[in-house]
Structures are given as structure tokens and as C-alpha cells.
């Protein structure tokens, strides 16, 4: 496999792991997908106020604090399952890349009722350090703005 192909596969794997780790609530491992300087944003465009909104913007320490405290919160008991498309990856140089990936996120209540929760895209920036690709910026753009339930857990 060429180096380019390996990098491509590595980035696609990071995106798939992102979703899988959230679905299984392995939050420490999820945070480890971020570069030390990396950050996470949940954004949406409001047609009501006609502007982009940041619903959450957190660096690694803030994400860690929030996810460490998840157990202390009262939470939506539904299980979540991501369905993630094939990332479209563009390399900026040997150590940076951008990727766009569509995703949908489903909720399944404890009674077993499933429903679509969020549709959106990941618009990510990656950086390669020490041979590993990680998020420099993991941006989740939510098309869905009327949510069935709110969540402390990243999307």
C-alpha cells in the first residue's frame, strides 16, 4: 500500500472510530483521537436568526472535564448509534488534511423505540504527529435543529 493510501485509510479509520467510541461511551479513547491542541465544535445554521451558531466549542481539557462528569448528570437513557458515510479526504500537505463525512445518529429508547436524532456532517481538519492522524478540529455540523432530547454527550 502506498503511503498516500495508508494515510487515507488512517483518516477514514479515525472517523469511523469516532462514531464507534461515542456509541460505546468510551470517552477517554474518543478524546485521544484529538491532537493535543485539537478542539471540537457542534455548529448549526439558524434560518430564524440567519446566522451560524456554535452550540459547543471545547478544547481537550474542557471535553475531558465534561465527559469525566457525565456520570454525575441525569441523562437521556436512550442508546445512540451513528451511521457514518465514507469520508471525502483532501490532503493539504503531508501532515494535514481535511475530511467531510455525512452522518446520521439514531436514538433507541430503553423500550426499544428507535428514531432519527440528528442528520449532519463532520467537517474535519486532521494533523499527523508522531505518525498518527488526529483531529486538529472536529466540527460537527447539525442539519437537525429541533432535537428530540438534549445531550451532554458529543455528537
Amino acid at each position: 500500500m502506498s503511503s498516500h493510501q495508508e494515510d487515507l485509510e488512517a483518516i477514514r479509520t479515525v472517523v469511523q472510530r469516532t462514531a464507534a467510541l461515542l456509541d460505546t461511551e468510551q470517552f477517554s479513547e474518543w478524546i485521544s483521537l484529538f491532537d493535543a491542541e485539537g478542539s471540537y465544535e457542534l455548529a448549526a445554521y439558524s434560518t430564524e436568526i440567519r446566522r451560524w451558531m456554535t452550540w459547543q466549542l471545547s478544547d481537550r481539557p474542557a471535553l475531558k472535564q465534561m465527559l469525566d462528569e457525565v456520570g454525575e448528570h441525569v441523562r437521556d437513557p436512550a442508546r445512540r448509534r451513528h451511521v457514518v458515510g465514507m469520508p471525502f479526504v483532501e490532503f493539504t500537505d503531508d501532515a494535514t488534511a481535511r475530511a467531510t463525512t455525512t452522518f446520521s445518529l439514531f436514538r433507541t429508547t430503553p423500550e426499544g423505540t428507535s428514531s432519527l436524532y440528528i442528520v449532519g456532517s463532520y467537517e474535519d481538519q486532521f494533523i499527523k504527529r508522531d505518525g498518527a492522524w488526529r483531529y486538529a478540529f472536529h466540527r460537527v455540523v447539525s442539519d437537525t435543529r429541533v432535537l428530540d432530547a438534549f445531550t451532554h454527550i458529543p455528537v
Binding site: 430564524e48 466549542l57 438534549f150
Partner: protein, 395 residues
């Protein structure tokens, strides 16, 4: 035989200190509220910044009606029913936008920003009946503003807005009316609950125990005294805030930073104020950022809630990021508190829907500490006055 407790036993309390839960579940009471409350009282509809420039419009629903708010060329914000006078199609089908005039998409009748009917398509067809355009403008809705908050009332005979608000404005005219603010955050959700349960949640501080973030940053919620005091005003309005001294919110205790920076005029960095206007608006000011909750009741067990965040117009990028972070930390859809509040009020609605527990207790008396229920009792006195029935006995 031992008689088991039932959920229908009346509490041994004064009638003012409990509620019949059917006010939260009954379809007929819901319809009556729409008529007696939502069509008769001033309703917050949007912030002035949402119709910032002439031609800017914003749509909203009030008591099942579709309303357009538009800023005219004369800079006046007006409200109209969103329906063409020709065959009643909606004039505006977007949530917001900017228009030079409103043209009905169906048969192209055209209205000015002041609501006047400017033109009809194929006018020769009306020559035989001498159609009088001056009587066929958009139907206006009474609208007034205070401190940047735009209200409408479907009842022309309602008292002036300022009279309705009364002295509760002391809690929010500064900062809302003393510095230009704009809406930077908007989200909405249909909560599976009754609209009053969301208003109650916004009004009573007792439920701060629900939130780990509040338990950490507001340690006084566990104690017997509080730096904040309830303010009970006329017309069912209430609020709670501190007059100075002891910190209200200790962000450092929760491990959070930024809470104090860029405090709004009249606010300390460690301060929070909550103001609840009858029937359905909450104004929550956390030192450097403002949250507004507006509700559109859809049914006894369905409520559309709109959440707005206000920040200072002209903020630089750094300051806006600080205010946004502060807002989102507690109040955004991924915030620490909001998801828990929603779970609580939906849980109440599910249980009340079974009819098993007939009464809610609003009996706390704590010298007007925020965990006192005096503001809830005041709210339901106003509800009872307007509905012509006791919320405890339904008589």
C-alpha cells in the same frame, strides 16, 4: 381494614399551596388557556435585533395564529396576521428574512411593510366592483417593545405593555435596555410536557438540586439561606436576584472559567438573575450573557420552546467566544443544565398523564429564598384569576 394512601387525597394544606394536576393534562383547560391567557396577555415574540433593519421580518405563532413582525421604512416594528386578505394564503412562508414588500405567492397581491395593500394583480378584474384597497391591508396585531423585547397581544383592548410589566422591569431593564444586544443563539424543541411545567421549572430554584453544575457552583442551594431573594410583582411576574454582597455563582468551584469576564451593565461577574414574566417568558442573565425562553403551547402535553441567547452587539471575536462558551456551558442543547431540565418536565408529564397523582405541592415557605414557592403561588393566583377557576380545586 387499613385504607391505603391514594394519589387523589387532597393535601392537608391551604388551597393556595397545592395544584390540581389536571391543569397540566386536561384538553379543555388547555383550550381555555389559549382563549383566556394567550389571546389576552402580552406575549414576547422576538428581540428587536431579529428585525434590525427596515424590511427585516420575523414570523411567530401566538395562540395558534401565525404572526409577522416587520420593521417598516419608518423604523417602527409592526405586527400583522400572516394571511393575505384575498384568499387567506400565508403572505410569508419563511421564519425570517428581509423584504421590500410582501407579495402573496398565490395570486400576487402585494402589501407594503406598513401592511397597506399596494397592488392587486390583473386589477381590471375588480373594476366592476370598485375594490377598495384601503380597507384590505394586512390585519394588524397590537405590538409594543420594552428593553429590546418585542411583545404582541391579540386583544386590542389590553393595557399598555409597560403597565402590564409593572415593577418586575427593575430586574432586567438594565442590562437589556441599556446596551445594544443581539440574538446570537437560537434553538427550539417540542417538549413532551405542558407549557406551565416548563415555566415552573424556570421559576422554582428548588430544582437546582437536579443539576450537578448548580450544586457545585451554587453551594447555597443546599443551605438554609441564599444571597438571592424572590421578588413577587403584580400580574404573576416574579424573579430572583441578589442585591449585592455574597457571590451568587462561584464558577471556580465548578472548575469553570470566564464566567465573570465582560459582565453586562449593572451585573457583577458572579451574579445571576432570573425573571419570569406571566405567562411564559423567562429572562435569565448570567453576568455576561442572557437567555430568553419563549413557549408556544401545542397541546396539553406538547410545548414548543424557543431558546435565545443574547450577547452585546459589536463584540469582538474573543469576547463573543467567551459569552458563547458561558451560554453553552449551562444552557445550550449540549449544556450542563438544559438536558436535565427537559428530562424532568417530560417525566412529570408522563406521570401526570396517568392521573395517578392528582395534586402538586407548592408549599415551601422560606423567607423568600429562591427555594421558597411564593413565586409559584403568585403565578397560579394570576392563572386562577384569568381562568376564573382555582388551580387547586378547578372550581
Amino acid at each position: 381494614m387499613v385504607r391505603l394512601l391514594t394519589g387523589h387525597d387532597k393535601p392537608q394544606l391551604p388551597e393556595t399551596h397545592y395544584l390540581d394536576n389536571r391543569i397540566f393534562t386536561d384538553e379543555a383547560i388547555f383550550r381555555e388557556e389559549q382563549e383566556r391567557i394567550f389571546t389576552k396577555t402580552w406575549q414576547f415574540v422576538c428581540h428587536e435585533s431579529e428585525v434590525d433593519k427596515p424590511g427585516d421580518f420575523r414570523c411567530a405563532r401566538i395562540a395558534g395564529k401565525s404572526i409577522i413582525m416587520v420593521r417598516g421604512a419608518d423604523n417602527v416594528i409592526r405586527g400583522f396576521h400572516n394571511a393575505c386578505r384575498h384568499r387567506a394564503a400565508e403572505i410569508v412562508r419563511d421564519e425570517s428574512g428581509t423584504a421590500r414588500m410582501f407579495t402573496c405567492f398565490y395570486h400576487h397581491w402585494t402589501y407594503g411593510l406598513d401592511g397597506r395593500l399596494r397592488g392587486v394583480s390583473k386589477p381590471e378584474g375588480y373594476e366592476a366592483v370598485n375594490l377598495d384597497k384601503s380597507t384590505l391591508g394586512l390585519v394588524p396585531v397590537r405590538s409594543e417593545s420594552f428593553a429590546g423585547l418585542v411583545f404582541v397581544c391579540l386583544d386590542d383592548g389590553v393595557e399598555p405593555l409597560r403597565e402590564f410589566l409593572g415593577d418586575i422591569v427593575k430586574g432586567f431593564e438594565e442590562p437589556l435596555g441599556t446596551i445594544p444586544l443581539e440574538v446570537f443563539h437560537f434553538h427550539k424543541a417540542v417538549l413532551k410536557t405542558n407549557w406551565k411545567l416548563w415555566q415552573d421549572n424556570n421559576s422554582e430554584r428548588y430544582h437546582a438540586l437536579l443539576h450537578v453544575a448548580n450544586r457545585k457552583t451554587m453551594p447555597w442551594v443546599l443551605g438554609k439561606t441564599s444571597p438571592m431573594k424572590l421578588r413577587i410583582e403584580a400580574h404573576g411576574h416574579s424573579g430572583y436576584w441578589a442585591d449585592g454582597g455574597e457571590a451568587v455563582v462561584d464558577y471556580a468551584k465548578g472548575g469553570y472559567s470566564d464566567g465573570a469576564e465582560g459582565a453586562l451593565p449593572g451585573m457583577r461577574g458572579d451574579e445571576m438573575r432570573v425573571i419570569n414574566l406571566f405567562p411564559d417568558l423567562m429572562i435569565n442573565i448570567r453576568s455576561n450573557v442572557v437567555r430568553l425562553d419563549r413557549m408556544v403551547p401545542l397541546g396539553p402535553d406538547r410545548t414548543l420552546v424557543e431558546w435565545r441567547g443574547l450577547a452585546v452587539k459589536g463584540d469582538d471575536a474573543r469576547m463573543r467566544a467567551i459569552r458563547t462558551r458561558q451560554h453553552n456551558l449551562f444552557w445550550g442543547p449540549t449544556g450542563r443544565n438544559l438536558p436535565e431540565d427537559v428530562l424532568a418536565v417530560e417525566s412529570q408529564a408522563r406521570a401526570m398523564g396517568t392521573g395517578d397523582i392528582r395534586y402538586s405541592i407548592i408549599a415551601r415557605e422560606e423567607q423568600l429564598n429562591p427555594t421558597d414557592d411564593a413565586n409559584i403561588r403568585s403565578y397560579y393566583r394570576e392563572w386562577g384569576r384569568r381562568m376564573g377557576k382555582s388551580p387547586a380545586t378547578l372550581a
